[in-house]
Structure formats: structure tokens, C-alpha cells
Amino acid sequence: MRALLSLVALGALGCASPEAPAGPQLVPGERLGDVTLDMTYVQVVEVLGEPTGALVDSRIGFARFEGDVEVVFTSPEADALTDDSRIIGIGLGTAGDYAGPALPGATRAEVEAALGPAPDSIESIDYYPHGISVEYDGDTVFRVAVLPPYERRPDVPPMVGVDR
């Protein structure tokens, strides 16, 4: 039901804004500007340039780029990013010129007007299954991330046999 409300809210937003705003877009479940979730490390570097810093541990890498952008990769190497490392999330710590339904500095009310109430939360972070997470500092957005969509399955299906 919450997911449905979220879709309705997004639909309403779309109706109110027939023209996409200019500038780079944060699109949940898809991209931040020209960086998309299907890219590899070498493709990200082509778009954003070399990272300003990176932390890689146990095949998970966090690379920081100009503009307060953080890209999270999985890597075949334990402690290094390789050209074929794959994106699993794109974070943003400063709104800059980006446009989107939730950006750093926005209020919780603004985010919930755009996305609806979050169906999932851990501590100060709200998660939306269509592919965006929002971290708050009080009622102000501190960071956001574009993520692959996930499926909510809180209800266990009844047991079935092989001939279901």
C-alpha cells in the first residue's frame, strides 16, 4: 500500500512538472547525472575523472569524486578497484546542480512530499525500493544514494510442494 502511495506521489509530481528540469538528474534506481548503475569503474572514470580517494576492503570499494559524489563498487580484487569493478550504489553529499526527488539539504517534508513515507528504515536512513536511500541529520537530508531497486517481501508465502 505504501509502495502504491509512493507511486501515486511520483505520478502527481510528474503531472505537475511536465518538463524535466534542466541540469543533471538524480533518478532513483537508475543514475546520478551521467553515471548509471550499469557502469564499470573505467566507465565511471571516463565520466567523473579519477577519484580523489578510495577505500577498498574485502572486494567492496568506496571511491570519492569531485562534487561530493561517492560511487560504491564490487571488485574482483580484495583491496583494489579494477577496470571491471561494478557499481552497486552512487552517493551524493552536496546537492550542487542536481535535480531530483531527494537531495542533500532538503527537508524530510520535501522528500516525503516527493517520494512518500519510506517503507524501510534503519536508524537515520530511509530506503525506498524503487532505488533511493536518504540519510537524515535531524529533519534535513545529509546524504542520498541511488541504488538498484529491491523487492519488498515481508510476508512469507504459504508453504507449497513441488506440484504447486
Binding site: D57, I125, Y150, V162
Partner: protein
């Protein structure tokens, strides 16, 4: 010394996807019969919070993506197969579980889909099916048995987790599950031990395997029904009384096996039932006990992974090193790391 010992155990080349475990020059087979696939969306809110505490704060923003990929058998780089290949594990059991109030669940049908994936054409994984004790109906037994009967080469047994399913070991309403195991000739892998997970039952009757002894005896193969092998997962960890009971059950009954996952944590409750502030991993106590009590052939390695990236690899190394320090021979290490599980879960039926 420990660090040097571990470094010498594993032959790992960045260019080789499948690592090998070698002990004193002998390459040994490693089987991990306790791995949990699932998804972020199948984990309850309290469970997600518990899991997220294991992530660095800066990584929690990405929790759904990280957890989905870690718990996916086929996700590149950090999925379950990638983790086990990295850790030198040759074969695994993937587990269905109906623990939706604690750690999350994976239904039997979803498990079967995973096992049928093209990535598993080489037979890397078999599976254990499970049963709902909540929403209970005798039909659940029929459904459970249908999976085991239909797929003898990919379903190897039954997984139960009484402390997470809020059922005591001796609850008579659910004993029919052992009749299914007996008829189908498959082992039952049971969670034993004190679980720190929110929502799990913390009274000994839910986690101390001594409550299972009458059932173990009833299905020892000498009393009119076919034998069932009982695998005590975690060797009753967390509570010294429960650990000792697991060891004693294995000594008294040859249809009891010990499974070594989740022993990297320190003990929480001592033999007097008092909380303790221990720091040593429990395997440092359990592994010598297994050797001294002559239980090596009834003992198998497992991880209860994937937990976090790199955990499977680390635990393989820790347990092998722990056995070396305890004085296990290479033959005995080979038995524990793979042979016991192969004989029980990868046999023809």
C-alpha cells in the same frame, strides 16, 4: 605465529577464481554445508537493524544493495559463490529457512530456483529445504517431503532452527518432520546454541540440544523406523552447558554430528549458567574437545555465512589453523573440512 600459520594455508592467486586449501602440501576438499541465501526484502526490520550494525556507518546508506548482493548466490565478486571460491570452498549447501521473525526467510521454492540456475550446472551447490512451524498444518509435512522426494540429487536434507522458529526441541506437535527425514533417508541440520539475534528464543529448551535426545534415540535405526542423522549446527554455541550437551550427545549416539559454524564468537554463558565476559573464540575450546573425545569423524566444518564479504575465507583459515594448533593430523583436518559433510549430504540416495 598464528598469522604465519594462516598465511601458509591458502594458495590464492588473484588470477585464479577458485582458491585451494592446502595443508602440509596436500590439497583438501572443503565443503560448507551452511550458507544462507536471501534478500534484503525478506529480512524483518529488527533483523536488518542487527545486520546493519555490522556495516561501517558510512556503508549503511547502501545496505539494500550490499545485502542483496552478499546474499545472492550468483552476484559477481561478493555473492555467495564468489565468496566461497575466494575462500577455497569447493561445494556448499544453500539453506531454505522459515525464520521470518528473526533473521529473515528463504522459501523452498526460491531455494529450488537458485539450485536450478545455469551457474549451478557444475553441481557446486545442493540444498536443504525447511518447514514452517508457524501457520502450522499437517500439509506442511507433505509439502516438505515433496521437495525431497522429487529432487534426490539437489535436495540433501532438512534445515530447522528451533530458537528462531519459536519451537522447543521436544514439542510433540512437530515431530512428524523426523518421520519425513526417516522415510526419505536424509539428515536434519538443526540450529543449536544461544542466538544473539533479536527475536530469537533465549531459554535453553529452544537451543540446548539435550532436549532432543529422546528424538535422537527414537530415530537411531534400531527401533522400527529408519535412522535419521542429526547435525547439531554451531555445537550448541554461546552457552557452555549447551556445548557440553552437544558433545556428549555425539559421544553417546552415532547418528549425531557436530557442525562447526558460528564458533568464532566468545562464550556468553558459563557452565553454571552465569553470563561471562570471555574473549577467546569458542572453537579454541571446542576443537580440542572434539579431538579428545574421538568425535572427528562426526564433525564437519561450516560457516553459517556469508555474513559479510571475506567472512567465509577468514573462517576457513581460522578453523584450519585452530585444528593444526589443537594437534589434528592432515587426515583429520581433511575429514572435518569436507569428508564428513560429503558422506552425509553429497551421497546418492
Amino acid at each position: 605465529m598464528r598469522r604465519l600459520l594462516i598465511a601458509g594455508l591458502i594458495l590464492l592467486s588473484p588470477s585464479v577464481a577458485q582458491a585451494e586449501i592446502t595443508v602440509d602440501g596436500r590439497t583438501i576438499e572443503v565443503i560448507d554445508p551452511h550458507l544462507h541465501p536471501s534478500t534484503f526484502g525478506r529480512i524483518p526490520e529488527n533483523g536488518r537493524g542487527f545486520i546493519a550494525q555490522g556495516l561501517p556507518p558510512f556503508a549503511r546508506l547502501y545496505a539494500p544493495a550490499l545485502i542483496d548482493r552478499l546474499l545472492d548466490p550468483w552476484s559477481p565478486h561478493i555473492g555467495i559463490r564468489a565468496q566461497t571460491d575466494w575462500g577455497g570452498v569447493d561445494h556448499v549447501l544453500l539453506l531454505a529457512v522459515y525464520t521470518q521473525f528473526t533473521t529473515g526467510y528463504l522459501e523452498n521454492a526460491a531455494l529450488d530456483e537458485m539450485l536450478c540456475a545455469p551457474d549451478n550446472d557444475d553441481g557446486w551447490a545442493r540444498g536443504l529445504v525447511s518447514i514452517r512451524f508457524d501457520d502450522w498444518s499437517e500439509d506442511n509435512l507433505t509439502h516438505l517431503e515433496s521437495w525431497i522426494e522429487a529432487h534426490p540429487t539437489r535436495i540433501s536434507g532438512i534445515k530447522l532452527a528451533h530458537a528462531h522458529q519459536a519451537v522447543t526441541f521436544d514439542d510433540p506437535e512437530f515431530l512428524g518432520v523426523y518421520d519425513v527425514a526417516s522415510r526419505q533417508g536424509v539428515p536434519v541440520l538443526l540450529h543449536t546454541g544461544f542466538s544473539p539475534f533479536p527475536g530469537s528464543q533465549t531459554e535453553p529448551e529452544y537451543y540446548d540440544p539435550s532436549g532432543l535426545e529422546a528424538v535422537i534415540e527414537a530415530y537411531d535405526g534400531t527401533r522400527g523406523v529408519d535412522r535419521v542423522d542429526f547435525v547439531l549446527s554451531h555445537v550448541g554455541q554461546g552457552d557452555a552447558r549447551s556445548v557440553l550437551h552437544a558433545l556428549e550427545l555425539a559421544e553417546r549416539h552415532d547418528n549425531v554430528f557436530l557442525e562447526l559454524s558460528a564458533l568464532g564468537r566468545p562464550l556468553l554463558i558459563d557452565e553454571a549458567g552465569e553470563l561471562v565476559d570471555a574473549s577467546e573464540p569458542q572453537y579454541a575450546w571446542v576443537l580440542p574437545e572434539v579431538l579428545e573425545r574421538g568425535l572427528v569423524e562426526q564433525t564437519m566444518f561450516a560457516t553459517d555465512g556469508p555474513q559479510f564479504s571475506g567472512f567465509v575465507r577468514r573462517y576457513v583459515n581460522e578453523i584450519v589453523a585452530g585444528m593444526q594448533e589443537a594437534g589434528y593430523s592432515v587426515d583429520q583436518i581433511e575429514q572435518v573440512m569436507g569428508a564428513t559433510a560429503r558422506g552425509l549430504f553429497f551421497r546418492d540416495r
